[in-house]
C-alpha cells in the first residue's frame, strides 16, 4: 500500500502527467501543497508577481506546446486574481489545470480568513471545476482534470483543494493512469461528402480558419486542402500562422481590422468553409450581412458552435484534422483561375496600406524591422490594443504555434507573462512581446519574473502614452471627446525595466535603431526596447462596432 498526504499525491500525479514547470504564488491555504512541491526533483516552480501573471505564464506554455499547463494560487485573493486568466483560457480554448488552495473543509461557509467561493466563481469561466472533499478523490480528479482540459475543445479546469484535504493522509494501492485526451468522435461520412460536393460545386469559395485548426495541429492539412482545391484562406486572429502571410492563397486576417481586400473577398464568396472558427463578432461584423451570398460549411469539435451564430448548410461535428483528412480525397483538384484572378485584383486595388513601413520609428516600420531580424522560429506574443492589431496585420507569421495573443477575452496585461511562459516552454527560441504602455502597466510586476527566470523575452514597448484603441474609438465615434484615455504623466519605462533588473533601451534616442534591434534581439535573456508612437496613429481599416464588414473606415 502507498501512504501519502493529499498534497504529496497531487505533486506525484502532476509529475506522472509530465508537468515540469508550474507557475504560481503560495499563501496560507496552499502551503501543504507547496511543501510537497518543494520535495519534487522534476518540477520547477516559477514564482509570479501576481496570480494573474502565474495564470498567463501557464497560458504561454500551453499555447506554444498545445498541452495542458498548470498554475497554483492560494485561496481568496489568490483565486480571485487568477480569474481573468481562467476566463481568457475559456474564450480562447486553452488547456489549463488551475489548482487553488481553499480554507479547511469545516471552515467553508464561515467567512473564514481568505475564504471565497472559488468553485462558484469559476463555474461560468471553466470547462469544468472540482471542489475536492477527500484526498482519495484526487486520484480520480487530477487525471480527470487533464483529460477534460485537453479533450475535444480544450479549456481550463480548476481544482479547488481545501487545506485539510492537502494534509490528509490516505492509503491506496496503485497510481491511476495519467489523464489523456479522449479520441474525437468520427465525423459523419454523409456530411463530409455533402461538404465535398459543395466545395466542388462552388465558384468563389473561401476557407475561413480559426483557432481550432491550431489546437488540432491541422495547419498543414488545411493548407493542403486550400492548395488542392484552390481555396483562398482567411484566418481569424487566433489562427494567424496557419498559412504563411506571403502564400498566394493567404487573405490574412478577416474582420474589424482586416485589409480591405479580405473583407471584400468575403462579400463576394459563394461558399464559406469554416474550420474550427466560431463566427466571433470581431471577425464577422454585423452577422446578418456577413458573407451575404455564401453557403456555409462549418466544422467544429464543439457541437454547440454549429448554428450558434450562423446556420450552416452542412455542419460537421469533429476534429478539424480528422475532417480535413476525410475531405481531401473527395475534393477535386482545380485551378479556379477566375476566382483567384479576382482575388488578385482585389488584393491589388484594395491592399493593406502600411505607411512608413521602412521607418523603424513608426509603428508598422518597427514591427517589420523586428521581423527582419528574426526567422520563422521566433515566437511572437502581444498584449491587447492598437499594437496587437498592427502586429496582427503586419507581422509575417509563417508557422502555427508561433503567435500568442489574447483573442476572445482581449485581456490587457496578457502579453508579458504569456511571453515568459512561452520562453520557459521553448527556451531555445526567441520570444518577442509586442506591448503597449497601457497593457504593460497591467502586469508590469512580471518584469521581475522575467528577470528572475532569465526568460528570453524581448519586449517591444510601443508607447503612445494612452489607451490607444479607446482613444481611437472616442475620436471616431464619440465626437472626438477624448476622455480618460490619455495619461497625464510620462512613465519612464526604461528606468522601470532597469529597476527590475532588465536591460532596457530607448529606441527614440538610438542613432542606429536597426543596429540596436539587431543586437538586442540576438542577445540572450530579457530586454525592453521602448519606442514612442504618435497617439494620432490609428488602426485602419476599421469596421465600426456593429457595422457590416464592408463598411470599413480608412486604410
Amino acid at each position: 500500500m502507498l501512504k501519502m498526504t493529499g498534497a504529496q499525491i497531487i505533486v506525484r500525479l502532476l509529475e506522472r502527467q509530465g508537468v515540469r514547470t508550474i507557475a504560481g504564488i503560495p499563501g496560507g491555504a496552499i502551503l501543504p501543497l507547496y511543501d510537497a512541491l518543494s520535495r519534487s526533483d522534476v518540477i520547477c516552480h516559477v514564482l509570479a508577481g501576481q496570480e494573474q501573471g502565474a495564470g498567463f505564464i501557464a497560458h504561454g506554455m500551453a499555447r506554444v506546446s498545445g498541452k495542458p499547463m498548470v498554475c497554483f494560487a492560494s485561496s481568496g485573493p489568490g483565486a480571485t486574481n487568477l480569474l481573468t486568466a481562467i476566463a481568457d483560457a475559456k474564450l480562447d480554448s486553452i488547456p489549463l489545470v488551475c489548482i487553488t488552495g481553499q480554507v479547511p473543509l469545516p471552515m467553508i461557509g464561515t467567512d473564514a480568513f481568505q475564504e471565497v467561493d472559488t468553485y462558484g466563481l469559476t463555474i461560468p469561466i471553466t470547462k469544468h471545476n472540482f471542489l475536492v472533499r477527500d484526498a482519495a478523490e484526487l486520484l480520480k480528479i487530477i487525471p480527470a482534470a487533464f483529460r477534460i482540459a485537453a479533450s475535444g475543445r480544450p479549456g481550463p479546469v480548476l481544482v479547488d483543494v481545501p487545506k485539510d484535504v492537502q494534509s490528509q493522509t490516505i492509503e491506496f494501492a496503485t497510481w491511476p493512469e495519467p489523464g489523456k485526451p479522449v479520441d474525437p468522435p468520427a465525423p459523419d461520412a454523409e456530411a463530409i461528402s455533402a461538404a465535398a460536393r459543395l466545395i466542388n460545386g462552388a465558384e468563389r469559395p473561401i476557407l475561413y480558419v480559426g483557432g481550432g485548426v491550431i489546437h488540432s495541429e491541422a495547419a498543414a492539412l488545411a493548407t493542403m486542402l486550400a492548395e488542392k482545391a484552390s481555396l483562398p484562406m482567411t484566418m481569424t486572429l487566433m489562427a494567424l500562422g496557419v498559412l504563411p502571410t506571403d502564400h498566394p492563397l493567404s487573405l490574412g486576417m478577416l474582420g474589424m481590422h482586416a485589409a480591405r481586400y479580405t473583407n471584400l473577398a468575403l462579400e463576394e464568396c459563394d461558399l464559406l468553409i469554416a474550420l474550427g472558427a466560431r463566427f466571433d463578432d470581431r471577425a464577422t461584423g454585423k452577422v446578418a450581412l456577413f458573407c451575404p451570398n455564401a453557403k456555409i460549411v462549418h466544422v467544429d469539435i464543439d457541437a454547440s458552435e454549429l448554428d450558434k451564430i450562423k446556420t450552416a448548410h452542412v455542419g460537421i461535428v469533429g476534429d478539424v484534422r480528422g475532417v480535413v483528412e476525410a475531405l481531401l480525397p473527395q475534393v477535386w483538384s482545380t485551378p479556379r483561375t477566375d476566382w483567384l484572378a479576382r482575388i488578385g485584383t482585389l488584393k491589388q486595388t484594395h491592399p493593406l496600406r502600411m505607411p512608413n513601413a521602412n521607418d523603424p520609428r513608426s509603428h508598422y516600420g518597427l514591427i517589420l524591422a523586428v521581423a527582419r531580424q528574426l526567422d520563422d522560429n521566433a515566437i511572437i506574443a502581444t498584449d491587447v490594443g492598437q499594437h496587437q492589431m498592427w502586429v496582427a496585420q503586419a507581422y509575417p507569421l509563417r508557422a502555427p504555434r508561433r503567435w500568442i495573443t489574447s483573442g476572445g477575452l482581449g485581456t490587457m496585461g496578457f502579453g508579458l507573462p504569456a511571453a515568459i511562459g512561452a520562453a520557459l516552454a521553448e527556451p531555445s527560441r526567441t520570444v518577442v512581446c509586442f506591448t503597449g504602455d497601457g497593457s504593460l502597466r497591467m502586469n508590469i510586476q512580471e518584469l521581475a519574473t522575467a528577470a528572475e527566470e532569465r526568460a528570453n523575452v524581448k519586449i517591444i514597448l510601443m508607447n503612445n502614452n494612452s489607451l490607444g484603441l479607446v482613444h481611437q474609438q472616442q475620436e471616431l465615434f464619440y465626437g472626438k471627446r477624448v476622455y480618460a484615455s490619455k495619461y497625464r504623466t510620462h512613465v519612464d519605462f526604461v528606468k522601470i525595466a532597469q529597476g527590475f533588473g532588465i536591460r532596457a533601451w530607448d529606441l527614440d534616442l538610438a542613432v542606429d535603431p536597426i543596429g540596436l534591434l539587431a543586437h538586442e534581439l540576438a542577445e540572450p535573456g530579457p530586454c525592453l526596447i521602448h519606442a514612442s508612437i504618435d497617439v494620432r496613429e490609428n488602426v485602419y481599416p476599421m469596421v465600426p462596432p456593429g457595422a457590416a464588414n464592408k463598411e470599413m473606415i480608412g486604410g
Binding site: 468553485y119 462558484g120 463555474i123 461560468p124 469544468h128 471542489l131 464543439d302 454547440s304 448554428d307 450558434k308
Partner: protein, 97 residues
C-alpha cells in the same frame, strides 16, 4: 388552462452526477444567458450516485443552443426533451395551489 401551459414550453429531463455543485452548473448555464427556468425538480436516483433534474423552460429560439450547452456539462450524463404537458410538472402544480 393552467399556468404551466399558457406559453410554449418544454420539459428537459437531465440525468446528472449527484454532488453539491451540479445544480449550480446547470442553473448557471441558463442564468448567464438570461434564460429563465420556470420550474425545477431534482431527486436522487441510483442509490444517490446520480440525480434526475427536471427543468420547465420557455421555448424560444435559443432553446436548441441551451440544450447543446447542457449536453456539454461534464456532470450531465443524458438529456431528454419532453413536451410541456409531461406529467411531472402537471401533478406537481397541485402542491402549489
Amino acid at each position: 388552462m393552467n399556468a404551466i401551459t399558457t406559453e410554449a414550453r418544454t420539459v428537459l429531463e437531465l440525468r446528472v452526477n449527484n454532488h453539491p455543485g451540479v445544480m449550480s452548473h446547470v442553473c448557471s448555464l441558463f442564468s448567464r444567458r438570461v434564460y429563465n427556468v420556470e420550474g425545477i425538480l431534482c431527486m436522487p436516483v441510483a442509490e444517490g450516485r446520480e440525480s434526475r433534474i427536471w427543468l420547465l423552460v420557455n421555448e424560444d429560439e435559443r432553446l436548441e443552443q441551451m440544450v447543446n450547452q447542457v449536453r456539454k456539462l461534464e456532470d450531465v450524463l443524458d438529456v431528454r426533451r419532453h413536451h410541456a404537458d409531461h406529467e411531472v410538472f402537471e401533478r406537481l402544480e397541485e402542491l402549489f395551489r
